[in-house]
Assembly symmetry: C2
Homo-oligomer: 117 residues x 2
């Protein structure tokens, strides 16, 4: 992910001439940016980030009934955030009887993590 940018010295240009040659960001990079931004967006709420933190740290499957009391939020709101995380591919869930157990899917974080590092 890199772009050629000419750092030409800037002088006021004589009316009409474009500022600089249009630099194109290739499609591949655009798609990668979209994927990573989607992951970042899912992490862009403290509740979801904390939920994922708990699931990652726990290294097992955690019942929703243990996640809800971590926050002073209604159960539907937690359910909504878990759905956002699942839609982003960051977690998945499994039903056992009445209970739903969530667990982290670490792979989906890799691309963003690599880009950040």
């Amino acid at each position: 992910m890199s772009v050629d940018l000419e750092l030409t010295p800037k002088t006021k240009r004589p009316a009409g001439e474009p500022c600089c040659a249009p630099v194109v960001y290739p499609d591949v990079q655009r798609e990668q940016a979209q994927r990573m931004a989607a992951v970042a967006k899912a992490l862009g709420d403290p509740v979801r980030l904390t939920l994922l933190d708990v699931l990652r740290k726990h290294a097992g499957k955690v019942c929703v009934c243990e996640l809800v009391p971590l926050f002073e939020l209604s159960q539907p709101t937690i359910s909504h955030h878990l759905k956002v995380l699942r839609d982003a591919g960051l977690v998945d869930s499994e039903r056992r009887g009445l209970w739903a157990y969530y667990y982290a899917l670490p792979e989906r974080l890799e691309e963003l993590t690599a880009w950040l590092s």
Copy 2:
């Protein structure tokens, strides 16, 4: 950042009893989650992520007039995204005459990067 969660086997509880002891997420971790979520939120748009990518890769200060043509978006929109990145502490800018030069501030990514790794 870690939480004690009892993974007690779930049985339907006999009416009235709470599901599980309320687990508290300490304030320190809450603030950390807020900081990291704010950074993630700023990265949660493909345009902003690409802008930061260009600034990070370029390792110098880049004129706004070179950033605008990277996207098929209006100049005010790019200016808005740059402001979001600056408000999040991810970039800063410097004016030289008519031009504004932006550059990345890598430090602000560190906490989130460490948490992801």
